[in-house]
Symmetry: C2
Subunit: 404 residues, 2 copies
């Protein structure tokens, strides 16, 4: 069976060659956010590891280009080890593996700083567009035209194009694409590389559409002239469902809100008419980012954690009621990379909370009331030190208010 | 006469060609300090202008290389317009004028940030060494070997070379040069490009030697193996008088202590034995930096200032005694770029100052005493507002000290 499929594939490939259909393959990635700090922890080592996997994928896939759709760095002045990491990885991809690279600045990058040296990079087909210019000529690689649109605020585009009618990202993108269309040949494969908040198509999460609306968004319909639009900005590859306008998603999970997102890179193979196939390849970080929920005792039980990847980056939600003594340090002895700890109130707790105002009638002292509040709201112990400090404050307030 | 000299020159040049003496010409510059802020004023526009002159000199001289001996930027994270300026100027020199460039990081540059992309620059003979490595192979341009030694702290060199005996800059440079000597061919022209505080030879200013001594300095004798040592760090080309070890001096005057220094670039023509001629070419900034001294009235007199270059960057020293009403704003109406204003006390003033402690016997009130002090020490008026504010302070202090 496998042999027959293989034989058919070869026939198809040869037919394609005979009728002159040229295939161009590129990898679409974005939002590397090198130098990112998550809950106080630098992601650089995790990023290095995943980028090394990425380089291996490039070596295997042998694409005609790698497209990076913005936010290479997490901020305009990234830490120096992030600068060194980007330099090293791009060198491996572009110079050692001789793969053309097409990259744009995102809103997290500094257009000017990222641009430095880009004139020299072109020598080896590394096309880096940091700052938007009013030249709308595409970069041509193996018959595909890549139109590069680095992130720019509407005001910057208004000034650059001397067009006072530009007020929103939608206006800006529409005008920019209009300029491109003046010379774009619709019979060729054209790819736009952009970094924007694009809505439209069958968007996955309808609530999001309602909540984000306004001038920050760009309608997917604007990208109609292009065979494929390679986007960066939103971190999930599922942020938009559209046949031709796609996010690759970020390199890694960069917040616990992304804990359930899949992370991948996109591999596109495009023919000379701009028709393409699209598939995902995933990269596996050494430390995943995920959420864990349970009672403290359960989480600290070897029977439980033996089955867990204990060194993942974790947000732990404790279900325990009442006071717990130093849970964060106890958890870190088992799970070294706990980044965030929360406590969840169950219904009983909520009821307690709702009846909080009526508690005074129980004739508890102020300090007893505060202790109850503290243990319900935090995961730390209400120590004797804290008790004394609080007692002083209560005493002072009561006296100042004339209640004592 | 001129014709005869010209004829002789041609004969000499042809003779040199016949006997096979190859000449290599390079320009030595350093300490551009792009993004420098002097007394609150960005020098970027002045730097742009002088660098444009520099590019013109490169176009005229047609050197085989331009050597920049560190401190391209003034700080590790320079302002973005300085980043754009460096990018633009290096592109003109290296790509448009096709001139090889050899550059190292100085103590003001960030080794890692400056290094980004340097692997790509080599394509077009732009050799940028930001971070010291343990590869001591020279860059070869037209028969001359350039050994690049970017600035590094002794601790960094100690770690890099795994040599615990390195404690000072002297130790570090000695060890580095020792490594280079292992493969250096003394019969070839060898140039070291470094950024250091080098002393030795006939140093111009003996006081300086005494005052700076210690671990920050490097002895000029270390550079003996090299035909020429192109230095950066000290801002005057006269910082050292040595036949083979030279500073080019900074691009511009960067403080009033440099007001009387000449600023230039060095042009070196070297034969294949390492023998060289050395000459200076000066660049003329639109705004010079200089000091001006006089009485306020005189400086504001059109007969005086008509002969002055009023838009230079100025440090003005006023010789007036007593109170002056808002002299800085009056001066700026004539001299828009006054960066610093001082008042000089003559002997009478000094006597007044010395007898300051005895003034109390004159039975002046505290506020009168302060007013006298204020007008002697500053160039501003002691306004009614200031008087009232000060009176409140004096009142408070006297009361607290129980003197009232």
């Amino acid at each position: 069976m496998a042999n027959r499929i293989f034989a058919i594939m070869i026939v198809l490939k040869n037919t394609a060659k005979k009728i002159g259909v040229k295939q161009m393959k590129f990898i679409h990635t974005a939002d590397w956010h090198l130098g990112k700090l998550v809950h106080g922890v630098y992601m650089t080592e995790n990023q290095r590891e995943v980028l090394e996997q990425f380089v291996t994928v490039v070596a295997e896939e042998k694409p005609d280009a790698v497209v990076i759709a913005g936010d290479l760095y997490d901020r305009s002045v990234p830490p120096t080890d992030a600068v060194e990491l980007l330099d090293e990885m791009l060198f491996k991809i572009n110079v050692e593996l001789k793969t053309p690279v097409v990259a744009i600045a995102g809103n997290h990058d500094s257009a000017e700083r990222l641009s430095f040296g880009s004139s020299w990079y072109k020598h080896s087909q590394f096309y880096l567009s940091g700052k938007l210019t009013n030249s709308f000529n595409p970069v041509q690689i193996n018959g595909v035209n890549f139109y590069l649109v680095p992130y720019a605020e509407p005001g910057v585009v208004r000034q650059l194009l001397e067009d006072d009618s530009i007020h929103s990202h939608q206006d800006a993108m529409k005008t920019l694409i209009g300029k491109m269309e003046e010379s774009l040949n619709p019979h060729e494969p054209n790819v736009l590389v952009g970094h924007a908040f694009v809505l439209g198509g069958q968007t996955s999460d309808s609530e999001r559409v309602l909540s984000v609306g306004g001038s920050g968004c760009v309608g997917a319909e604007l990208f109609e002239p292009f065979s494929y639009t390679a986007l960066g900005h939103l971190h999930s590859p599922d942020a938009i469902y559209h046949s031709k306008v796609k996010y690759s998603g970020s390199l890694l999970k960069y917040s616990f809100s992304e804990a359930k997102q899949r992370k991948s890179i996109s591999i596109i193979e495009m023919d000379e008419k701009g028709e393409f196939t699209h598939r995902y390849r995933s990269l596996t970080p050494k430390h995943d980012m995920r959420e864990l929920e349970g009672h403290l005792e359960e989480l600290l039980d070897p029977h439980f954690y033996e089955k867990e990847r204990i060194d993942d980056y974790l947000k732990i939600t404790l279900l325990d009621e009442g006071a717990l003594i130093d849970p964060i340090n106890k958890l870190r002895q088992v799970y070294p990379n706990v980044l965030h700890l929360e406590r969840k109130m169950d219904i009983t707790d909520l009821k307690k909370k709702q009846s909080f105002n009526s508690i005074r009638s129980e004739k508890k002292s102020e300090i007893e009331l505060f202790e109850q509040f503290y243990t319900e709201m935090t995961t730390a112990e209400f120590t004797q030190d804290k008790k004394e400090a609080m007692a002083t404050v209560i005493e002072k307030v009561l006296r100042e208010e004339g209640l004592k």
